[in-house]
C-alpha cells in the first residue's frame, strides 16, 4: 500500500472553524448560565408554581375560582320566585384519571350514579377545554351518594365532588316561560363567553329572564389561594385574593298572585274546551308593565335546573303543542276580529268614515265572482262604527278595508305595533306579519289581491300577531294612543338592596291618531260588551270593554270546515265598578288593566277566550257572582251548519 499523503483537495478555513467553536462554547455557556440562575440561584427567572393546575406534586398552592351566588328573582311584591339551593356535582378531571384505571373508575361511577358507562365516557370525551378542567358528569347527586364518592377518592382517582348552587324554581311550571332556567354552557356559548370569565362547566341562563338578564344575575367569580395535596384535595384555604360578587337580583313586573289567577282561568278554559294551547297576558296600559303572562302548555323549569334527561327533553321537544315555546310572545296566529281595532281606528283617523256615519252591513260583499260572507250570513242593516265593532260585522269592515286600501291598513297596523316585535325583555319573541304589496311581491312574487285586502281588514288571511302584540295594542287603545314597550323586569337590585336599574316606562311611539279616535274605539269596545255580543259578560258588576276574535286557520276538515282560534282582548277603566260608573263610561284613557286571551284551535260553541277573560276578571276583582257559561265551551264548531 502506498502510504503517501492524499493531497488536501480543498481550501481549509481555520477562521470559520474557530468561529463555529466559539459559537458552540457561547451557546453551551449561555444555557449553563441559565441553569445556574434556575437551579442554583434559588430564585427561578419566573415563578411557576403558584399558577399551576391543582398539582399532583406534593403540596401545592393553587389559585382557584370561588363561585359567586347567582341573583335571585322576585315578583313585584317581593315574593321570592327563584332561589339557590345546594346541590352535589360529581366531576372527573381527565388529567388525573390514569388511562389504565379509566374503565374501572367509570364502571364504579356508573354503578354509584346509575348512569350508563357509555354516557359517562361520552361526557368526558366530549368535554371542552383543557384536560385539567373538571368535567361534570352528574348534577344534583343525592347527598348520600356524594358522600360515598368523596370518601372513596383512593379508588376513584380524578373524581371530585363539589357543592354547587342549583336554581330552585319555587312555583315550578307557573313561571317557567317567563323566568326560564339555567343549563350547562355549551361549546359555542363558551367560546364567546370565555373572555368574560366563564368556566367550561358554568351554568348560564338559557331561557326567559334567566337568559336575557344573564349578565346582571351572574355576579363575578372570586379568586382564592388554597393549598392542595398530591391528590388534588384541598387542605386549607390560604387567602381570598378577590371576593366573589353575588349577582344582582331581579324584581319582576309580574304579580305572582295575578299570574296564579290568570293561570287558573286559562286552565279552566282549556280543560273544559279540550283545547291544548293558549296564552293570557295582562298589562298595565299606563306603563307597559306585564302583570301576568301565562302560556300553556307549560313544564317545570326545575327539570332543567336539575339536569334534564335526554328522554324528557325529547318529549318536550317533540310535543306538538310546543311546551318549550312561550305562546304569549312566540306564537304568531291570525288575530281575527280583534284586529278590527286597527281597521276601525285607521278609517276614522284617515277620515274615510265619520264617527256617526252608517254603512250597510249585508249577508255578503261580492268581489268579482267571489262572495265574502258576513259571519251570521245575514248582516244587521246600517251600522255606525261602534255598532259595526260591537256586532263584529265582517261586511262592515270589508268595506272599511276597501276604503283604506292595503297600504294604509298596514300603516295603522304597524302604528299599533303589529308586524314587529314589541322588544319585551324576553327571548324568542316573534314579530308577526302585516301584509303589504311590497312584502307579498318579495315573498310570493305578486301584489295583494283585492280580496286579500278584505281578509286583512278582519284579521284573517296573511295577518299574524302574537297575544303580546294584541294586549299591547289594546293597552295603547286604553291609554289613549301611547304604545309602550312591554317589560317583565321592573328593577334590578344589587345584593345590598340598592336599586341598580330603576323602572322606567319605555314608549315605542305615540300612535299618530287624534285622541277622539281612541275614545270612539274605546266606546265601540264597550259596546261589544253592552250589546250582549259576549252574552252575560255585561252582567258583571264591573265596566269592561273588549273585542272577541275567531280566526280560522289551517286546513278544512272533511266537512269543509276550518279549525279556528279564539281571542279576546280588552281593558277595564280605572273607575271600574258599575256602582261608581253606572253609564259604563270608558271615555277616559285611565285604564290600569289590559288583557288578551288566546286559545289555539278552540273548536267550541262559544268563544272560550271570552269566557276565560270573564273568569279572570271575576277572580281579579274578587267578584263572588259566577257568570261563567261552561255550556259555551262544549266542543263543536261554531261555523257548523255550513255557509
Amino acid at each position: 500500500m502506498s502510504v503517501l499523503q492524499t493531497p488536501v483537495t480543498h481550501e481549509r478555513r481555520p477562521v470559520r472553524f474557530v468561529v463555529f467553536a466559539i459559537v458552540t462554547v457561547l451557546a453551551l455557556s449561555g444555557l449553563t448560565t441559565r441553569l445556574v440562575a434556575m437551579q442554583l440561584a434559588g430564585a427561578p427567572a419566573r415563578e411557576p408554581a403558584a399558577a399551576l393546575a391543582p398539582a399532583l406534586v406534593g403540596r401545592q398552592i393553587v389559585t382557584e375560582p370561588v363561585p359567586s351566588t347567582r341573583g335571585l328573582i322576585y315578583d313585584r311584591a317581593k315574593r321570592l320566585l327563584v332561589e339557590n339551593v345546594p346541590t352535589f356535582t360529581v366531576s372527573v378531571r381527565p388529567a388525573d384519571l390514569p388511562l389504565s384505571q379509566r374503565p374501572d373508575v367509570i364502571g364504579r361511577l356508573s354503578g354509584l350514579l346509575d348512569i350508563a358507562a357509555t354516557t359517562i365516557t361520552e361526557t368526558i370525551d366530549g368535554a371542552i377545554g383543557s384536560r385539567f378542567d373538571p368535567v361534570a358528569i352528574a348534577h344534583d347527586v343525592p347527598e348520600q351518594t356524594a358522600r360515598l364518592i368523596s370518601e372513596d377518592s383512593l379508588t376513584l382517582p380524578g373524581v371530585e365532588v363539589t357543592v354547587d348552587a342549583r336554581r330552585d324554581y319555587l312555583d315550578g311550571p307557573l313561571f317557567t316561560q317567563l323566568i326560564g332556567w339555567t343549563g350547562s354552557i355549551d361549546a359555542t356559548a363558551y367560546a364567546s363567553l370565555k373572555s368574560q370569565g366563564y368556566l367550561p362547566d358554568d351554568r348560564i341562563g338559557k331561557a326567559g329572564v334567566e337568559s336575557v338578564y344573564e349578565s346582571a344575575l351572574r355576579g363575578m367569580y372570586g379568586v382564592r389561594e388554597v393549598e392542595k395535596d398530591g391528590t388534588g384535595r384541598t387542605l386549607r384555604v390560604l387567602s381570598t385574593t378577590t371576593t366573589p360578587q353575588a349577582g344582582d337580583s331581579l324584581i319582576l313586573t309580574i304579580d305572582s298572585r295575578e299570574q296564579k289567577l290568570a293561570q287558573q282561568a286559562l286552565d279552566w278554559g282549556l280543560k273544559l274546551s279540550g283545547a291544548k294551547r293558549g296564552a293570557i297576558v295582562v298589562e298595565n296600559p299606563q306603563t307597559g308593565e306585564i302583570l301576568a303572562m301565562v302560556s300553556a302548555p307549560t313544564y317545570d323549569a326545575n327539570l332543567f335546573s336539575r339536569g334534564i334527561s335526554t328522554a324528557d327533553f325529547q318529549k318536550l321537544l317533540l310535543d306538538k303543542n310546543l311546551p318549550l315555546m312561550n305562546h304569549a310572545i312566540g306564537d304568531i296566529q291570525p288575530p281575527g276580529s280583534t284586529y278590527k281595532l286597527v281597521t276601525g281606528s285607521g278609517v276614522l283617523a284617515d277620515k274615510k268614515l265619520g264617527v256617526t256615519e252608517t254603512v250597510l252591513s249585508k249577508p255578503y260583499v261580492q268581489l268579482g265572482s267571489t262572495l265574502f260572507w258576513e259571519w251570521n250570513h245575514a248582516g244587521w242593516g246600517p251600522l255606525d262604527i261602534k255598532d259595526g265593532f260591537a256586532h263584529s260585522s265582517d261586511t262592515f269592515f270589508y268595506q272599511m278595508a276597501q276604503r283604506l286600501g292595503i297600504a294604509r291598513l298596514a300603516y295603522w297596523a304597524r302604528q299599533y305595533g303589529f308586524g314587529q316585535t314589541t322588544g319585551i325583555d324576553l327571548p324568542a319573541e316573534a314579530g308577526g306579519l302585516v301584509p303589504t304589496d311590497q312584502w307579498k311581491l318579495e315573498t310570493l312574487g305578486q301584489t295583494i289581491f283585492p280580496g286579500e285586502v278584505l281578509q286583512a281588514g278582519i284579521g284573517q288571511g296573511y295577518d299574524l300577531a302574537t297575544p303580546l302584540q294584541l294586549v299591547n295594542a289594546y293597552a295603547a287603545l286604553a291609554n289613549g294612543g301611547t304604545l309602550y314597550q312591554p317589560q317583565v323586569v321592573r328593577e334590578i337590585v344589587s345584593p345590598d338592596g340598592t336599586v341598580v336599574r330603576p323602572f322606567t316606562p319605555k314608549v315605542i311611539r305615540k300612535i299618530a291618531a287624534p285622541s277622539w279616535v281612541f275614545t270612539t274605539m274605546r266606546e265601540a269596545a264597550r259596546r261589544v260588551i253592552t250589546s250582549r255580543h259576549t252574552y252575560n259578560f255585561v252582567d258583571l258588576p264591573i265596566v269592561v270593554a273588549g273585542k272577541t276574535g275567531t280566526a280560522e286557520f289551517g286546513l278544512r276538515d272533511k266537512n269543509g270546515v276550518l279549525p279556528y282560534h279564539n281571542w279576546f282582548a280588552g281593558f277595564t277603566p280605572k273607575n271600574v265598578w258599575t256602582k261608581d260608573n253606572p253609564t259604563g263610561d270608558v271615555s277616559k284613557p285611565d285604564s290600569q288593566l289590559a288583557f288578551a286571551v288566546f286559545i289555539y284551535d278552540a273548536g267550541t260553541l262559544g268563544n272560550t277566550a271570552t269566557e276565560v277573560a270573564k273568569y279572570y276578571l271575576q277572580l281579579h276583582y274578587g267578584i263572588k257572582q259566577d257568570l261563567r257559561l261552561p255550556q259555551l265551551l262544549e266542543r263543536t264548531n261554531f261555523y257548523q251548519g255550513g255557509r
Binding site: 500500500m1 502506498s2 502510504v3 503517501l4 499523503q5 492524499t6 493531497p7 488536501v8 483537495t9 480543498h10 481550501e11 481549509r12 478555513r13 470559520r16 472553524f17 468561529v19 463555529f20 467553536a21 459559537v23 458552540t24 462554547v25 451557546a27 453551551l28 444555557l31 449553563t32 441559565r34 441553569l35 445556574v36 434556575m38 437551579q39 442554583l40 427561578p44 427567572a45 419566573r46 415563578e47 411557576p48 408554581a49 399558577a51 399551576l52 393546575a53 398539582a55 399532583l56 406534586v57 406534593g58 383543557s130 385539567f132 378542567d133 398530591g230
Partner: protein
C-alpha cells in the same frame, strides 16, 4: 497544495473497502462520548418508565425496553456506517435524495394521523419518524453538492442551488407538520454553507431575506397551535393551564433540581408524570430535576467534547465532502441542543425538536448514529504520509 499527487490503491472490492482501512484511525473518543450520552438517554428512559409504571421497568414494551432495542439498532447502524466507504455515499447522493423525498412523501401518506401530525410511521410495531432520517440523508446530499461546488461558494448561484436542494424535503417536513425538523434543516444548511466558506455577504443577504419572510410564514404557514406554542414561552403564566402549562411545570422541575438533583426516579414532577411529553421533548427537565446541575453540566461537557471531535474529523478531512458532513452533523447537534434545552429552560419557543441521545426516540438516535458512523468512516479513510 499538493506537490505530489499520488493515486490511492484502487479498491478492489467490497472486502477491500471494509477491511482495508485504518482502524487505528477510528476515533475512539467520539465513540465513547456518544455511548456515554446514549447511556444517559437510556437512564432517563428508565426513570420515565418508572414514572409511568412504578415498578416493573424491564417488562416488555416499556419505554425503557424499547430504548434498549433502539440502542442496539443504533449501534448496528453506527457499525455499518463506519465500515462502509463513505465515498460511495458521494456517488449515490442523488439516488439518496430521491429516496429521501420518497420516504417523506410516504410518511405523509401512511403516517398515523392521530392528532394533527402525520409524522409517525409504524414499522414492525416500532414508531418511526422518517423526518429524523431525512436530516442525515439531507446532510449527505448537501455535502455532496457543496463539495462539488467547493471554492465556488462565493457565487450566489451555488448558495441558491443549495437552498433549492433543501426546499422540497423542507416543505414535505413542514407539511407533516413538523416545524422543529424543518428548522433543523435550515440550521444545517446555514452551518454547512458557513463552514464551506460561502460568502458572508450572501449569507447575510439570505438571512435578511428569511427575516423579511417571517411575517408571511407566521400568517399563512403556521397553524394556530404552533403559534400558541411558539409564543407561550414569552409569558407562560398568561395561560398557565393551557399552552404555558408544559413550560411552567418544566421550569418548576428544573428549579427543583438544585446542585445534585432529587436523584434518579425521585423527581417530584417527573415521577408524578406531570410533565407532558416528558419522555421526549421535555426529557431534559426530568434530567435537570433528578440529576441536578452537576448532571446537566456533565451532559453539556459531553456534548462539547463530542462536537469538538466532530469538528476535528471535519478539519482533518482532506476531502471537502468529509468537511461538509462534519459541519452538517455538528450544526444539527448544536442547533438541537440549543433549541431543546433552551425550550425547557424557557428561553426558546416550544418546538418539537429532540435532544440528541437523551430524548427517547429511535429514529433520532439511529439517525445520529448513522451520522457519527459516516464521520468515523471519513476519519478512517484519510490516508496520511508515512515516510
Amino acid at each position: 497544495m499538493g506537490v505530489l499527487r499520488v493515486e490511492r490503491d484502487a479498491p478492489t472490492g467490497i472486502a477491500a473497502r471494509v477491511g482495508g482501512v485504518a482502524w487505528r484511525d477510528f476515533d475512539l473518543q467520539l465513540f465513547v462520548y456518544a455511548v456515554l450520552l446514549a447511556t444517559l438517554g437510556l437512564t432517563m428512559a428508565y426513570s420515565n418508565t418508572a414514572a409511568q409504571l412504578g415498578g416493573d421497568v424491564a417488562q416488555g414494551g416499556t419505554t425503557f425496553v424499547r430504548g434498549l432495542v433502539w440502542a442496539v439498532v443504533a449501534l448496528v447502524a453506527f457499525a455499518a456506517a463506519t465500515a462502509f466507504d463513505y465515498t460511495w455515499l458521494k456517488a449515490f447522493s442523488w439516488p439518496i435524495y430521491v429516496v429521501n423525498l420518497a420516504l417523506l412523501v410516504a410518511s405523509l401518506v401512511l403516517g398515523s394521523s392521530d392528532a394533527v401530525s402525520a409524522r409517525w410511521v409504524s414499522i414492525f410495531g416500532l414508531q418511526f419518524q422518517f423526518s429524523e432520517i431525512a436530516k442525515i440523508l439531507m446532510i449527505v446530499v448537501l455535502a455532496r453538492y457543496l463539495a462539488d461546488h467547493d471554492r465556488r461558494l462565493d457565487s450566489l448561484a451555488a448558495i441558491v442551488g443549495a437552498c433549492l436542494i433543501v426546499i422540497p424535503p423542507w416543505i414535505l417536513v413542514l407539511m407533516q407538520p413538523d416545524l422543529g425538523t424543518s428548522l433543523v434543516f435550515i440550521a444545517v444548511l446555514v452551518g454547512m454553507l458557513f463552514m464551506g466558506g460561502a460568502s458572508l455577504r450572501w449569507l447575510g443577504a439570505l438571512a435578511a431575506a428569511t427575516l423579511a419572510a417571517l411575517p408571511l410564514v407566521w400568517t399563512y404557514v403556521l397553524h394556530d397551535y404552533q403559534k400558541e406554542r411558539l409564543t407561550s414561552f414569552l409569558d407562560p403564566a398568561k395561560d398557565p393551564l393551557g399552552a404555558g402549562f408544559q413550560l411552567l411545570t418544566a421550569q418548576h422541575a428544573v428549579s427543583d433540581g438544585g446542585w445534585l438533583g432529587a436523584g434518579l426516579t425521585n423527581g417530584a414532577q417527573s415521577q408524578s408524570n406531570l410533565l407532558p411529553v416528558q419522555a421526549t421533548d421535555f426529557v431534559f427537565a426530568v434530567l435537570a430535576e433528578e440529576l441536578g446541575f452537576i448532571g446537566c453540566l456533565v451532559v453539556f461537557l459531553l456534548f462539547a467534547a463530542l462536537l469538538w471531535r466532530i469538528l476535528t474529523i471535519a478539519w482533518r478531512s482532506r476531502d471537502p465532502f468529509g468537511l461538509m458532513v462534519g459541519a452538517g452533523v455538528a450544526s444539527m447537534i448544536l442547533f438541537q441542543i440549543v433549541v431543546n434545552v433552551g425550550m425547557v429552560l424557557g428561553v426558546m419557543p416550544i418546538t418539537g425538536i429532540p435532544l440528541p441521545f437523551i430524548t427517547h426516540g429511535g429514529a433520532s438516535l439511529v439517525s445520529i448514529a448513522i451520522g457519527l458512523g459516516i464521520l468515523q468512516s471519513i476519519a478512517m479513510r484519510q490516508q496520511r504520509a508515512e515516510w
